[in-house]
């Protein structure tokens, strides 16, 4: 066993034990697929697809798209200035930098669904609380990602802008933004895509959009509509992904 040290053998054993323990905890049981027919019966209920509600569904998809876009975009707008404060090299004060980093990871540690539950209770059902939930979470995520991009940016141009006599904050902003812009966009579009999935979950708890419709169709055994809901969701995610790649290829 020339390739393996004792240590890796130990790691391997621990890994096996972890997998086993997790299977016990999650009641992992492949024999449940014995009743495979049930699954097929269930899925066959999805077809033929019921197109009659398509206009309403499109309307709800648009709501979802708007929720995801607005939430992630507002998140980006707020995260951008914050990330300059949360980056080691551009933060005006050391203490502010540490505070911002902690604040951002605190926001990130709260799942969107928790934000959603709190806000939906406080503000009433509908898409608006869902937008806010997505926004808050994205401030945390994008703030961290962008501040890391700022820290990795080339210092040369910043120095040149200072040498020209620009104010420090302006020198940072002007020399760093063009450098990180393509990566900011690519992070943003990924977060937009994630926000679509999140807004579905938020729909389940009353946030509106195609997510809420999917949930309702499911609960009322309306499977021929469920299939169309799922199809629309997939199309939406793919469309955003494609549009994101297109924009990035234009910007780089």
């Amino acid at each position: 066993m020339a390739w393996f040290k004792k240590r890796s053998l130990l790691t391997f054993t621990v890994l096996i034990l972890l997998v086993y323990a997790s299977m016990r905890l999650t009641e992992f049981d492949l024999s449940k697929f014995k009743d495979f027919r049930n699954m097929i019966d269930f899925l066959s209920g999805w077809f033929p697809v019921d197109w009659s509600l398509l206009p309403d569904m499109l309307r709800d998809s648009l709501d979802t798209l708007a929720m995801a876009f607005l939430g992630s975009f507002l998140g980006l707008l707020i995260a951008l200035p914050i990330s300059f404060i949360a980056a080691r090299n551009t933060s005006p004060y050391r203490s502010l930098f540490h505070f911002m980093r902690v604040a951002l990871s605190f926001i990130r540690s709260i799942p969107e669904i928790v934000f959603g539950l709190v806000l939906l209770t406080a503000l009433g059902l509908g898409p608006f609380p869902a937008v806010l939930a997505i926004m808050f979470h994205n401030i945390g995520v994008l703030g961290k990602l962008i501040s890391e991009l700022i820290e990795a940016a080339d210092e040369g141009p910043q120095e040149a802008m200072k040498a020209v006599g620009a104010k420090n904050w302006f020198a940072f902003l002007f020399s760093v933004l063009p450098q990180i812009w393509p990566n900011v966009l690519s992070h943003y579009f990924y977060r937009f895509e994630v926000a679509i999935r999140t807004s579905l979950i938020l729909g389940f708890i009353g946030g509106g959009g195609i997510g809420q419709r999917l949930f309702n169709d499911f609960k009322t055994f309306n499977y021929s509509s469920v299939s169309l809901d799922v199809l629309l969701i997939m199309l939406m995610v793919i469309a955003v992904d494609f549009y994101g790649s297109y924009v990035r290829s234009k910007v780089i």
Partner: protein, 258 residues
């Protein structure tokens, strides 16, 4: 114009000073080349001259203003009147030649107009003129990442020129260029120097370039000035003093005895 008085710089976390007790003074019209081994303190000295680096002890005076005592606004005025070019050019990526050169005006305008790129026709015309001066009129709309090294340094020079500086600083501006291009850049710097009656101070590694273009040569070693005089006075003896460490000399003499 520029005056260093007992200037010392010790970087945090290091016990050896990067510059120690340097006394120097420079006048308008001088073309100074600074020589020295890697780590001798050349960059540190240059960066002290426009306050990018603060003195640990002593003072740098810019036309009489003590750089460690003046406020931010005055320091920015000093920087505005001091053009600087860099080894790695330090251009803002993703912007065109024209846009990069216009950033040279940032020190003299308000940030709102800077941020939105609101430049007057007169300012744009000035930018076109300096771009013509460095011979880049045909590249004016190109993005700077796609230029050659020599062209990038010309953009750097044009940006500094647009500041209408009194002092021109260069931190190894030709160290990443091939010898032919380096000579072109030096010709350009010399031409600008004399036509604008500047004080030009430039770090170089190449002693021949220094001797050919400078009106005054400085040599630094371990943070101290070991030569300050006319280029023709910088003899082989000083050359060895500048570039060979004492240890190497000893080893050399041991070998030669055998």
């Amino acid at each position: 114009m520029l005056k260093a008085e007992n200037l010392s710089v010790i970087y945090p976390g290091s016990d050896k000073p990067a510059l120690s007790n340097v006394d120097l003074s420079f006048e308008q019209g001088e073309f100074v080349c600074v020589l020295g081994q890697s780590g001798a303190g050349k960059s540190t000295l240059i960066r002290c001259m426009n306050g990018l680096q603060k003195a640990t002890e002593g003072e740098m005076f810019w036309d009489g203003s003590p750089l460690s005592k003046i406020d931010d606004k005055q320091l920015r005025t000093v920087r505005k009147e001091t053009g600087m070019i860099f080894q790695h050019f330090n251009l803002v990526p993703r912007l065109s030649v024209f846009q990069n050169v216009l950033t040279g005006l940032f020190g003299s305008r308000n940030n709102f107009r800077n941020a939105f790129g609101l430049f007057s026709d007169e300012e744009k015309e000035m930018a076109r003129q300096v771009i013509g001066n460095v011979g880049l009129e045909n590249e004016i709309g190109r993005r700077v990442e796609n230029l050659s090294g020599g062209q990038k340094q010309r953009v750097g020079i044009a940006r500094a020129l647009l500041q209408q500086p009194k002092v021109f600083l260069g931190d190894e501006p030709v160290a990443s260029l091939d010898p032919g291009t380096a000579a072109h850049i030096f010709n350009l710097l010399q031409e600008i120097h004399f036509s604008h009656n500047l004080l030009t101070i430039i770090n170089v590694h190449d002693v021949n370039l220094a001797k050919h273009y400078a009106t005054r040569v400085l040599a630094l070693k371990e943070g101290k000035v070991i030569f300050d005089g006319k280029p023709e006075e910088f003899t082989d003896e000083y050359y060895h003093l500048t570039y060979n460490s004492a240890q190497k000399k000893q080893q050399f003499s041991v070998v030669s005895k055998r």
